[in-house]
């Protein structure tokens, strides 16, 4: 197994799948400014995915390119976190999904900056600037909704209760993570957990919302074991490349 290739692919898939989800908000967000905001964040994440996919394709060599990796794999070959593929739900659901994701990736990239792999460090230096304002945006919304009306507070608390079970997967180290950390290429995910939890709690406190008790955590995305939602997402995202392979425009 090429560990570096698989490592880069995990990071690429996370960005691609959540970017695709966010893009589903285009023209449908609650109001114009937020429509533009979600589309901008989606675009940044597609950009991040492209950087990782280009790198993955260059590691794989031969004739593989970024589009092949993004559009021509089957569901079980995707190694994104389960959180990324979850449906948008209502606006508060999307905000919580994004907030959990951004607060993890902010910490992750601040470590990946020091990777011994030059290209990964370079992508991290680019991405950290963007995830910083994504996190600022999602945090503000968590606070605004949580600290808004009793209805918005109730709804966003339900969103947290719903998405919390996917949050432990950020910190699971699989074989690829361990190998990459050993080589000082990758990040120790487990070590990020306590700071992540502290940061999340700080925002939740301002928002008058709580971390749910006793959640049964689920995982499996990094082994290709996905929820039912990824297949539906792919059927839409891959449609063009499946119907007209190698189409260019």
């Amino acid at each position: 197994m090429n560990f570096l290739f698989n490592y880069v692919l995990m990071l690429a898939d996370d960005a691609l799948i959540i970017a695709q989800r966010l893009s589903e908000w285009a023209y449908r967000a609650p109001f114009l400014e937020e429509d533009i905001a979600l589309s901008n964040i989606s675009l940044d994440l597609f950009g991040r995915a492209t950087l990782f996919f280009n790198y993955a394709a260059s590691i794989k060599g031969s004739d593989s390119d970024a589009d092949d990796l993004a559009f021509k794999r089957h569901e079980r070959e995707y190694v994104n976190l389960l959180l990324c593929e979850q449906p948008n739900g209502h606006f508060g659901d999307t905000i919580i999904r994004q907030f959990l994701f951004d607060s993890f990736y902010y910490l992750f990239f601040s470590k990946l900056l020091k990777s011994s792999d030059e290209q990964l460090a370079a992508i991290a230096s680019k991405s950290i600037k963007e995830v910083t304002y994504h996190l600022r945006h999602s945090s503000k919304w968590v606070i605004r909704l949580g600290d808004g009306t009793s209805e918005s507070n109730k709804k966003i608390q339900e969103s947290i209760n719903h998405f919390w079970m996917y949050s432990d997967e950020f910190f699971i180290m699989n074989e690829v993570d361990e190998k990459m950390q050993e080589m000082k290429v990758g990040v120790n995910r487990e070590a990020l957990k306590s700071v992540w939890l502290k940061n999340v709690k700080k925002v939740f406190k301002k928002a008058n919302v709580k971390i749910p008790n006793e959640t049964n955590m689920i995982s499996g995305g990094k082994q290709g074991l996905h929820t039912e939602h990824l297949g539906h997402l792919l059927s839409e995202m891959q449609y063009l490349q499946r119907a007209f392979p190698d189409a260019k425009w």
Partner: protein, 151 residues
């Protein structure tokens, strides 16, 4: 010497290619062109994206290719570099004034309305019509305007 002349010629060509989203500024002024140098025999044009999802990057590459070929420069490569990451600190004063002249508040910590220079401004959205801009309103002249974000 021949190499140096050629490098200068390429700079001149690139200085005349407008940024596709803010056309009164060139891709050189925007800090997208990071360098032009010879790697052995190949002339290498090094560019960097402003934002990682910048949809204009492919267009910019095509523009560079077409413009250089039109000036008879055929043997070159375009390389994308990510580090150091693009920053608005690379925009000089002249470029910032050009932004202001088309109603975009330049990337400064002390922001002013590009129309009336008031500092009584209010953010409408941190996200604007392109990845690099935020949306503001001036409370003095009541105009809305875009702000080129510091990153």
């Amino acid at each position: 010497m021949v190499m140096k002349t050629k490098i200068n010629k390429v700079w001149k060509v690139l200085e005349n290619i407008p940024d596709p989203e803010i056309p009164n500024i060139s891709i050189v002024e925007m800090g997208i062109v990071r360098g032009i140098k010879y790697d052995h025999d190949t002339l290498n044009v090094i560019i960097t994206p402003t934002y990682s999802g910048c949809p204009a990057m492919d267009f910019i590459k095509t523009e560079i290719k077409e413009n250089l070929i039109m000036k008879g420069i055929n043997d070159f490569e375009i390389t994308t570099s990510l580090s150091p990451p693009w920053t608005t600190e690379w925009l000089n004063e002249k470029t910032k004034n050009k932004l202001k002249s088309i109603g975009i508040a330049p990337p400064e910590k002390q922001m002013e309305c590009p129309y009336c220079n008031s500092d009584e401004v209010k953010i409408i959205s941190e996200f604007g019509s392109t990845a690099c801009k935020a949306f503001y309103k001036c409370m003095h002249c009541i105009e809305t305007f875009e702000y080129f974000k510091c990153i």
